[in-house]
Amino acid sequence: MSLTELVSAVQALPHADKLRLMQALVVELARDEGIPLLSDVKAYPIWTPYDAFDAASTLLKALNADNAGA
C-alpha cells in the first residue's frame, strides 16, 4: 500500500480509530528512540497501602506506648 493510499484509508477512519492510530504511532516512535513508556504488557505494582486502618491503629498504639515509656 502506498503512502497516498494509506492516507486516504486513514482519512476514512472514524475519529476514535484515528486517535488509536496516532497513539500506536507515538508508542512505536518512542520505542524506536529507546524512550521508555508505560507498557500495556508489563505489570506495575501499586505499593500504596490504602485503607490499612488497622495497621494505622497498631502504629499509633506503638507510638503511644513509646511516648509513655520515654
Binding site: 505499593w47 500504596t48 485503607d51 486502618f53 495497621a55 502504629l59 499509633l60 506503638a62 507510638l63 513509646d66
Partner: protein, 140 residues
C-alpha cells in the same frame, strides 16, 4: 510558626521528565545504633509509613526481634510486616519519632504516609512548580 523548607520534585526517569516527577523527601534516620540518610516518597494515599526490608536491615533491625505484626493492604498484604519505631530528622527541624510498617517487600520505595508522617509534618504540594514545602506541625 516554623518556616517551611522547600524541596524539588525528583525526575525518577530522566527521559520522561515531567511524567516521572515525584515528591521524594530527604531525611535522616537514627535507630539504636545506626544512622542513615534516606529518601522517602510522600504518599498521601498511604495509610501508614512503610519501611522496605533492606532499609530496615541497614538500620540494624532484626526481623525476629520485632514482635508486633501489622497487616497491610494491596500488594503489600501478601507479605508479613512488623512495627518498628525510628527517630527521623527532616532538614534542620527537631527530630520526631516515626512508626513504620517494616515489610518483607524489597522493591518498593520508602513510603511516608498518613500515620504518622503526615501527623508530624504539614506539607504543601506545588506540583505545577515541581516543588513541595514541609514544616513541623505546630506544637501546642
Amino acid at each position: 510558626m516554623t518556616e517551611a523548607v522547600r524541596f524539588p520534585y525528583l525526575d525518577i526517569e530522566p527521559s520522561l521528565a515531567e511524567a516521572s516527577r515525584l515528591p521524594y523527601l530527604p531525611l535522616r534516620f537514627k535507630s539504636n545504633q545506626h544512622a542513615l540518610a534516606a529518601s522517602g516518597l510522600l504518599d498521601t494515599g498511604a495509610t501508614v509509613n512503610v519501611l522496605p526490608y533492606g532499609l530496615g536491615l541497614e538500620l540494624g533491625f532484626v526481623w525476629e526481634q520485632q514482635t508486633t505484626p501489622v497487616r497491610l493492604s494491596g500488594n503489600l498484604a501478601e507479605l508479613p510486616a512488623r512495627v518498628v519505631l525510628l527517630s527521623a530528622t527532616v532538614a534542620d527541624f527537631p527530630s520526631v519519632r516515626l512508626a513504620f510498617a517494616w515489610t518483607q517487600a524489597t522493591t518498593l520505595p520508602l513510603l511516608l504516609g498518613q500515620v504518622n508522617f503526615f501527623l508530624e509534618f504539614d506539607v504543601c504540594f506545588f506540583r505545577g512548580q515541581s516543588v513541595f514545602e514541609v514544616r513541623p506541625k505546630p506544637r501546642a
